[in-house]
Structures are given as structure tokens and as C-alpha cells.
Amino acid sequence: MRVLEPWLAEPLGELVRESSARLALVMTSSGQVVGQHGFTRSLDVMAAAALGAGILATTGELARLVGSSSDFGAVVHHGAQQGVWLAGFDTPRGRWVALVVFGRNSTVGLVRMFFQRFAASVREVAPVPVPDREVLAEGFERELDASLRALFGGG
């Protein structure tokens, strides 16, 4: 498992473990990967993220076209050997997407249940982004300039 931010490891680990997922991918709605389990090649991760985000965006637009008051929630492909669960969820960092690939030892219902728990956990533990002016408070540039001058011998 690889995660971009440490706080995501526990919720994603629980989702994978409890739903018996083979593969799992968490990404932003634009396809930026934030965590994955089970992929071994970075190319596969990027391709799956792009495709997953694209599929969800497409179905969301389709929902809008047919007059649905909300998107379709989740997209599920169920094959003979494995299935794919793809769904969006809101987080303090914006809307994210989860893609879960599961085998015959799991079910859509199980994945849905643990996906919902995963989404709730992420909402709970994700650090709320700090507004920019808190990141770099007033006077930061002045201090940066002074620090650079001191470091570079400019007075």
C-alpha cells in the first residue's frame, strides 16, 4: 500500500482488509492519485486513476442529462471473476474517488458497506486545509527576505 499522506493509510487499509479487495485506488476527481493498494506498476496506477476519474465524470454528466437530481453514486461492473466498484465521496480536501477491485470472495454489498465506512473515516481524519494566509502569514516575505540576505551574505 502506498499513500500520499500518512493519515490515509489506516482507513484505506481497513477498506482493503474488510472488503477483501484485490486492488484499491483513491484519487481526486481529476485523477490525481492519493493512495493505492495492490498495483505494482506506476503506469497502471496512473492509467487506472485517469480512467476511473473519467468514468465517474462521464456518468455524472449522464445523470445530469437524464435529469437525475444527483449523480449515480457508484458505478459497478460485475464480471465472472472479479468486480469493480467506483464511487465518489466528499472530503475536506474536495471530492475524491475510490476504485475497488474485488474477487469472488467478496460482494458488492460488502464493498459498498466498507466503502461508506471508509468515506466517513476519511472525512473524520482528513486534516482540514488551512487557508493560505495562515500558511504564510503577514510578514512572511519580509522575514524570508531577511533570512535569505543573512544566508547569502547580502547584509
Partner: protein, 211 residues
């Protein structure tokens, strides 16, 4: 790498760790072969106090011909620990994946032009390629703070182009440009100072004016 998304919705890639109160900037030094990238990093190693150099490639004794790098600790600014990773990338390299990652994650560009008149086309091709590589992970073109440095301005005048000619040839808009003698260090720290300032400014476009 955590991304910082500021209020305009434009994603920056500076590593900002809210809990540890650290900011890490990734700056790329780009220049044609022989423009002086390795010399520039060597000069920085010599001019910056050793206790502020956190890591880097072998430097003077064994420079990496493909990717030379250096990490500078800018110290604690307000309550943030700020570090700068500088990567000098060879224009031709078999490390395309490394190059792609660096351009994906770059917070600022330091474009180094060889001032010699006969290198004008090489400089132009290198800068054009750098802009083409400067895309985000979704493939969209990125606009990052850029500073230009004209190296080898210490060479005899008949061999080099004047700074205003280089500016006219390479600098779109009002990006800062500095004349440099990389060996003696003239213009090097000034360029880095400007690039760090511009890059940090980009991280906080909505910051209230100081003072």
C-alpha cells in the same frame, strides 16, 4: 508529495507539512550543455554555509553528469522550516521518467543561458524544451515562477551577447534576469534569492500585504 491548492484553484506542488510546519520547494536549474549548471551548484555549495547544506550529489569530485542536486536549508521563517531542493537537469538524458517527475513537481524554474553568441540556438532549444516538459500530472501546461541567469558574462565582450540582447531573445514579460560569473559567484545568489521569493509568493496569492 502533498499538494497545496491555493484559493485560485491552481495546484502548487510545494511540500507543505502543516503538522511539522515545514515547507519544501523544488527548483529546477535548466540550461544547455556547458551552460554552467554544475558550476552553479558548486558555487552555491561554496557560498552557502555548510551547516545549511542538507544533502546533495557528490559535487566537485564526482558531479553526476545527468542529475546534479543540492538541498539548502533556509532556516526557520516565522514558525516554518523552509528547505529548497535544487536539481540541475542535463538537456539530454536517459532518465526521462526522472525528468518528467521533476518537471511535474517543480515549483520554480532557474533558466541558465550561456551568454556566448554561438550558443544562442542551444539556449533557445533548451528553454523551449523545458517549457514543453513543464506539465502537471494531468498533462496540462504549468506556469511557474522563472528566473533567468546569463552565465559567462565574464568572457570577453566579442564572444558574448549583451544582457539586453539575451533578455530580448529569451525573457517573455518581466521575469527577473541576472548577469552572472558563475565561477566567482556574481549573480548566482541574487538569482536564487529572486526565485525563492517569487516561488514563495506564488504559494500565497491571497496573502494580505505585509506591513
Amino acid at each position: 508529495m502533498p499538494r497545496c491548492e491555493h484559493s485560485s484553484g491552481e495546484a502548487d506542488v510545494a511540500r507543505i507539512d502543516q503538522e511539522k510546519r515545514t515547507i519544501g520547494l523544488t527548483l529546477l536549474v535548466v540550461g544547455a550543455r556547458g551552460a554552467g549548471k554544475t558550476t552553479l551548484l558548486r558555487t552555491l555549495r561554496q557560498r552557502i554555509p555548510a551547516e545549511r547544506l542538507r544533502a546533495g550529489s557528490a559535487g566537485e569530485s564526482e558531479p553526476d553528469p545527468l542529475l546534479d542536486w543540492l538541498t539548502v536549508d533556509l532556516g526557520r521563517i516565522q514558525d516554518w522550516q523552509v528547505t529548497v531542493d535544487l536539481y540541475a537537469i542535463a538537456p539530454v538524458s536517459n532518465r526521462d521518467s526522472t525528468r518528467r517527475l521533476l518537471f511535474n513537481d517543480a515549483d520554480g524554474l532557474w533558466l541558465l543561458a550561456d551568454s556566448q553568441g554561438n550558443r544562442f540556438d542551444d539556449n533557445a532549444a533548451t528553454f523551449r524544451a523545458a517549457r514543453e516538459h513543464l506539465v502537471d500530472r494531468e498533462g496540462s501546461q504549468r506556469d511557474v515562477p522563472t528566473v533567468y541567469t546569463w552565465s559567462k558574462q565574464d568572457l570577453p565582450g566579442e564572444l558574448i551577447l549583451a544582457p539586453d540582447v539575451l533578455r530580448e531573445g529569451f525573457v517573455p514579460g518581466g521575469a527577473p534576469a541576472f548577469e552572472a560569473d558563475l565561477v566567482r559567484g556574481t549573480g548566482v545568489l541574487e538569482s536564487l534569492h529572486a526565485l525563492v521569493t517569487l516561488t514563495m509568493r506564488r504559494l500565497a496569492p491571497s496573502r494580505e500585504p505585509a506591513g
